[in-house]
């Protein structure tokens, strides 16, 4: 078991700068997810940890000591690839056994013909077989050991790749989008299995995904990356409830956070669609800011809107999306050139809204996230309750 420490990792491919000084400390036994849009450098970072790629600057330490000079297999890490990278000519059993045959047999004991001369080979192979069977049993692969990878389903291949990683008892598991080739249902299932596997093994997991749901559901902590830098590192709820920047807020959460154009009036007081809010930010008058509000924080307002720290605006229903247990309502903002907003609603509430009907949507101002023009989060100075909800969560 080992902690992993990355200090100012930088990497360029020729003229393209991919990572610009990434610092990350991953605790022993932690499940850390690297999440971010395509091309942000997640795979590059995890490949640097594995030793498949060399950083231009910075250092990787596993278990407290630098591994920069070590080959991939000497780093006691295992990796699960997006493509699984199973050896197509070997049976499932041989695939899982390969890391063990490589480490437990000497080179001459693996060579064709010459290996027949080895006396201990038999007993070593028996030990390997026992270990492979134990891992296969954990992953329900025992009946598939004789098959070739081509004869397996996607989920089974995925488990073989996991087995090949598990069999060496590595300190660190590295996974690069291991679930992205699976269908939606299997992905949900494997999410649970991976989280349980992590609990059972107690090893450090570093997991790469561009799917924020995977990041939110499995991780102890999430590192949100963009353009080769870590934008925010925190627990899933920290990222969701207190996104450090507009990019994090937009990436985490589904449906995507609603952004409303707001502006500052005198004293930094915020105005939404010309109506003053109870919130104030430390900005000069006349600055445009983005007000982010999650779709579940919106509600339909019956009767007189406003008052008591509640903001409101009017909108026109464009489309209802039925998710079974709830509805996603898509609204256009009446008469404004802002993007539409989405709202979660119970089926009962959704039934009360008609297509093209104009309604009033309200939200608690304390639920609003304020972002400056450069995308940085600004903590508003609210009245009363406004500061109460933004107590930072600690992992």
């Amino acid at each position: 078991m080992a902690k992993v420490a990355l200090s100012s990792i930088a990497k360029s491919f020729g003229p393209t700068k991919v990572l610009g000084g990434v610092d990350l400390d991953i605790a022993d036994g932690e499940f850390l997810t690297l999440v971010g849009p395509s091309g942000c450098g997640k795979s590059t970072l995890i490949r640097i940890i594995a030793g498949l790629e060399h950083q231009n600057a910075g250092s990787v330490a596993i278990g407290g000591s630098s591994v920069d000079h070590l080959r991939p297999h000497e780093r006691r890490v295992a990796m699960v690839f997006q493509s699984y990278a199973l050896y197509p000519h070997m049976s499932v059993g041989a695939n899982i056994a390969l890391p063990l045959t490589m480490s437990r047999l000497k080179l001459w004991q693996r060579l064709p013909l010459l290996r027949q001369l080895s006396a201990q080979r038999r007993s070593v192979m028996r030990g390997i077989e026992a270990d492979v069977e134990a891992v296969a049993a954990q992953l329900q692969l025992d009946h598939l050991l004789a098959r070739k990878p081509a004869q397996l389903s996607g989920g089974q291949r995925q488990r073989v790749a996991l087995g090949r990683a598990m069999v060496r008892n590595p300190d660190v598991f590295l996974m690069d989008e291991p679930l992205s080739n699976l269908d939606a249902k299997l992905r949900v299932h494997m999410r649970t299995e991976l989280a349980e596997l992590h609990k059972r093994l107690g090893a450090t997991f570093i997991y790469v995904t561009h799917d924020q749901v995977e990041a939110m559901t499995m991780s102890d902590r999430v590192a949100m990356m963009d353009s080769g830098a870590v934008l925010q590192l925190g627990t899933p709820s920290q990222l969701y409830e207190k996104p450090a920047s507009l990019k994090v807020a937009q990436f985490i959460g589904s449906p995507t956070i609603n952004l409303l154009p707001a502006a500052t009036a005198a004293g930094g007081r915020l105005e939404l669609f010309g109506r003053p809010l109870a919130l104030a930010v430390p900005l000069a008058q006349g600055e445009a800011v983005a007000l982010g509000i999650r779709s579940e924080a919106l509600s339909l307002v019956q009767g007189e809107p406003g008052g008591n720290g509640r903001a409101w605006f009017s909108a026109r229903l464009r489309r209802k999306e039925n998710l079974g247990s709830e509805y996603i309502l898509h609204f256009d903002l009446a008469g404004r050139d802002a993007a539409g907003v989405t709202m979660r609603a119970t089926p009962a509430a959704a039934a009360g809204v008609n297509e093209a009907a104009e309604v009033t949507l309200g939200f608690d101002e304390t639920a609003a996230h304020i972002f400056a023009a450069d995308g940085e989060r600004i903590e508003p100075r609210g009245q009363g309750a406004a500061t109460g909800s933004v107590v930072p969560l600690r992992a």
Binding site: A50, G51, L52, R71, P72, H73, V77, A78, M79, F81, S83, A85, L86, Y87, P88, H89, L98, P99, M102, S103, L107, R110, L111, P112, K148, R164, R168
Partner: protein, 307 residues
């Protein structure tokens, strides 16, 4: 009810009609290819077989049916036996040399990034050059007194070797030239095979502990090149069996018959002595050899190759 019955009956008759049309159309599509096969391969083969059973001589007006006499004569002829042994010897040198050498070069060239296409061109040049023209270059290079190869040997303290006029070295020298000519083509085939191996397999192997070149080769490269290797092996063997041009221009079967090979003997019998019937029988034996060798290789290796 009646409606349903009527429609079923109509259905079967239209189905039958459709099947018939499908069959005729299928035959129609297959016909041109079959006609071509018949005209260019099967018919000449039949003529060859028929000629091999006669004592026809080129330009002659009559011929006699001799049955298997040509074949009996061929199998008893010491010259043919010797040329058969020489051909097999040549194949036994060229196939391992041409296949393993090409594999080695391909693996080395594959790792180069910038210089790769340079090496590809250099090794492929012999394939594009006409062997007859290159033969004069080889003759010069290997000349006992004028050639630079012997100059080098002399400098190393080894006496001059008359590569092409010494019975013990002539066939081996031709085999080396044969390898030289084949290796570039085989290398390109192996390079294509190497390119098709996914890179992440090597990365997975690297993490799993295949750190040395020999481990990577035995775990990934060699097994996954199986189909390519088999193709290269069979085509190289067939090409080697067909050794003719170097013999014809460089040694003419000599010295003292040490480089007489099957195809050269067929050429002599058919085009120099005009024993067309006999040459046809020899050709048949030649084709049978190629067929048997290819089939044995294919069936023996097919099970071991992973596709």
């Amino acid at each position: 009810m009646t409606l349903a019955l009527a429609s079923t009956a109509g259905f079967t008759s239209t189905t039958r009609r459709r099947l018939w049309i499908e069959r005729v159309t299928g035959l129609g599509f297959a016909l041109p290819a079959f006609a071509l096969l018949l005209l260019t391969i099967l018919l000449p083969l039949a003529v060859l077989l028929w000629l091999s059973l006669t004592n026809y001589e080129f330009g002659g007006v009559d011929m006699d049916w001799v049955g298997l006499a040509n074949f009996q004569k061929a199998l008893a002829d010491p010259i043919i036996r010797r040329s058969l042994v020489n051909t097999l010897l040549y194949v036994a040198i060229v196939v391992p040399g041409g296949v393993l050498g090409a594999l080695l070069i391909a693996v080395l060239v594959h790792r180069r990034k910038r210089t790769r296409s340079f090496y590809e061109v250099v090794y492929f040049l012999p394939v594009t050059s006409t062997l007859i023209a290159m033969a004069t270059v080889w003759q010069f290079l290997l000349h006992p007194s004028l050639g630079p190869v012997n100059g080098l040997l002399k400098w190393l303290g080894i006496g001059p070797i008359a590569f092409l006029s010494e019975p013990s070295t002539a066939l081996a020298t031709l085999a080396v030239i044969g390898i030289w000519q084949l290796i570039g083509f085989n290398m390109i085939l192996f390079l294509a095979g190497l390119t098709a191996i996914p890179r992440d397999l090597y990365e997975a192997a690297d993490i799993d502990g295949c750190s040395s070149g020999i481990d990577r080769f035995l775990t990934i490269t060699w097994p996954l090149l199986g189909p390519t290797t088999m193709f290269v092996l069979v085509t190289t063997m067939i090409t080697a069996f067909k050794i003719f041009d170097t013999v014809a221009v460089m040694t003419r079967g000599g010295p003292v018959g040490s480089t007489e090979v099957l195809l050269y003997n067929i050429y002599l019998e058919g085009f120099q002595y005009f024993h067309t019937g006999y040459a046809a029988a020899l050709t048949f034996i030649f084709l049978a050899f190629i067929l048997v060798f290819s089939a044995v290789q294919t069936f023996a290796l097919d099970k071991k190759v992973h596709y």
